[in-house]
């Protein structure tokens, strides 16, 4: 369970996140929407402990994020898969190695890597492209690799910041199918997006930010409001 209490993140005078109180249960699928500059990415960075809140508390499964020691951050992040709009693949590594990389740095064994990477590539539908390099792939395929990398260590939370932002609607829908499947299997999903059709089609919880504040929070919600 993620519980934010009166969380504020200020950059100078600007409050990117303002007094946010929020609870997200394990296994939930949550869209974070809102106009550009509303604070969606800031919200996600707070969850990843990439930045510290100016005030307030963030508690994740009983863990107080603001009190976490620096050296414990890597171990905390191993429970979280992250996907970004720009894929962030390593260009000089194959698809397989890009995914294996995530297992290597958490010191998985060679056997685990050889078993787990093909399985997760199959899940995202890229089994046949294991030896390809990122530049040989279409955008949607690259995002699948990125998704495979995020999922390969079996995170309990998947965080995605505009994962379909660079994709056409059809490809975006493919990606959403995978994310939905991951959620169906029990992983909590938090996804920031501008994709109105996707949000409206999926009928999940929608939290709307504007100027750093939560202005709407609806179960089976719709993308609401103008940009």
């Amino acid at each position: 369970m993620i519980k934010m209490t009166k969380v504020t993140k200020a950059y100078g005078n600007l409050k990117a996140i303002k007094d946010v109180d929020l609870t997200i249960n394990n296994g939930e699928f949550v869209f974070i929407v809102g106009p550009s500059g509303a604070g969606k990415s800031t919200f996600i960075k707070l969850l990843l402990k990439e930045i510290e809140p100016s005030s307030g508390k963030i508690n994740i499964n009983g863990l107080e994020l603001t009190e976490m020691k620096r050296r414990d951050i890597p171990y905390y992040r191993r429970n979280i898969g992250v996907v970004f709009q720009d894929f962030r693949l390593l260009p000089d590594k194959t698809v397989f190695d890009n995914v294996a990389f995530a297992m290597e740095i958490v010191e998985a064994s060679g056997r685990e890597i050889r078993r787990q990477v093909p399985a997760v590539l199959a899940m995202v539908g890229l089994a046949s492209k294991a030896r390809a390099y990122p530049h040989e792939l279409a955008g949607g395929e690259q995002q699948r690799v990125s998704l495979a990398r995020a999922l390969v260590n079996n995170p309990s939370l998947l965080i995605a910041d505009e994962p379909t932002g660079n994709l056409d609607p059809v490809t975006a829908r493919e990606i959403m199918k995978i994310i939905n499947l991951v959620n169906y299997r029990g992983t909590t999903v938090i996804m920031a997006t501008h994709a109105r059709e996707i949000v409206n089609a999926m009928k999940k919880r929608v939290i709307t930010f504007r100027k750093g504040s939560v202005v709407a929070d609806r179960a089976k919600g719709e993308y609401f409001g103008e940009v």
Binding site: E50, R71, P74, R77, V82, L90, E104, E107, R149, N153
Partner: protein, 299 residues
């Protein structure tokens, strides 16, 4: 860390070194220069110390008798010198004999000594004493001064002292240069590592999101620094050995000024220096990469 992880980390470190070729070469050059100068200084000091030791074992004491010394005085001095401990040889040089020798030495310029006879001989009677062991020198010098009609007692401590002085100066100036060059190579290497970190910032960023520990991220760069340090050390070792064996060869030519120094054999110099190089090279490399990563890894 697991063995597997070490393999990964070392592989990445090697890759880093190869990727940044220009900076790697600059770093290796810098560290090599610093170590080479250090080697020159060490080799010089070792050889000077050796020369001092050698000279000390050849110390000669010269006793100049006063002009008015009588036959009696000289006879007594002779017998006393023969009874004292620690004297290998005590050679008496008669002043008339000395004058004669001098004339011969001057050859066709001997006219300069014309007018000198045994009456107004400017040279004194002299004892040349070779000691068995330098430890006797001080005692013998003091005893020689108590002999009747002794004008002056000299011994070659001046040379020893001045060589020791040169060794001290070399050490002092040399260490200053070495420290300066070391700082320079630390700066150059840390810049190389910074560039390496910079060129891999995307990867580092991803590694952080996935949950790599800081040490896992740091190791490849530390290894890069160590590799640079070690290559620099090995090259400096090769250069030192090369230059030194060249000097040795020159020193064997009879006319070369180097032949007056009894240079120590190559292996006395190169092995200690090479191991020192490796240690210092690694320290410099590790230090430089440690310094350069501190600020980059704070997320």
């Amino acid at each position: 860390m697991k063995f597997r992880s070490w393999k990964n980390v070392i592989r990445e470190g090697v890759k880093n070194t190869g990727r940044n070729r220009v900076m790697s070469m600059a770093s290796i050059g810098a560290i090599m220069a610093a170590l080479f100068v250090l080697g020159v200084i060490i080799a010089t000091i070792i050889n000077l110390n050796n020369a001092v030791a050698e000279l000390e074992s050849k110390v000669e004491i010269t006793i100049y008798m006063a002009k008015e010394a009588s036959e009696e005085d000289i006879k007594e001095a002779k017998s006393k010198l023969n009874s004292w401990e620690g004297i290998l040889e005590a050679k008496f040089i008669d002043k008339d004999q000395a004058l004669e020798d001098w004339r011969k030495e001057m050859g066709d310029k001997s006219y300069l000594l014309e007018g000198y006879t045994s009456e107004n001989n400017p040279l004194p009677d002299t004892f040349l004493i070779r000691v068995e062991n330098p430890q006797y020198v001080e005692d013998l010098v003091n005893k020689a001064k108590t002999l009747a009609s002794v004008e002056e007692v000299r011994y070659s401590s001046d040379v020893v002292n001045s060589i020791s002085g040169i060794a001290r100066a070399v050490r002092f100036v040399g260490m200053a240069i070495v420290i300066l060059l070391s700082i320079m190579s630390i700066i150059i290497i840390s810049n190389a590592i910074k560039m390496s970190v910079h060129s891999r910032r995307r990867e580092i960023n991803i590694m952080k999101y996935i949950g790599a520990t800081n040490w896992y991220i740091r190791w490849p760069f530390l290894i890069e620094g160590l590799i640079l340090g070690m290559i620099g050390a090995i090259l400096a070792g090769a250069a030192t050995a090369g230059v030194y064996s060249l000097l040795l060869k020159k020193a064997q030519e009879p006319d070369n000024f180097l032949s007056i120094f009894g240079l120590l054999p190559l292996e006395n110099i190169v092995y200690p220096i090479l191991s020192l190089y490796l240690i210092i090279g690694c320290i410099i490399g590790a230090l430089a990469s440690g310094l350069s990563m501190r600020k980059y890894l704070n997320v």
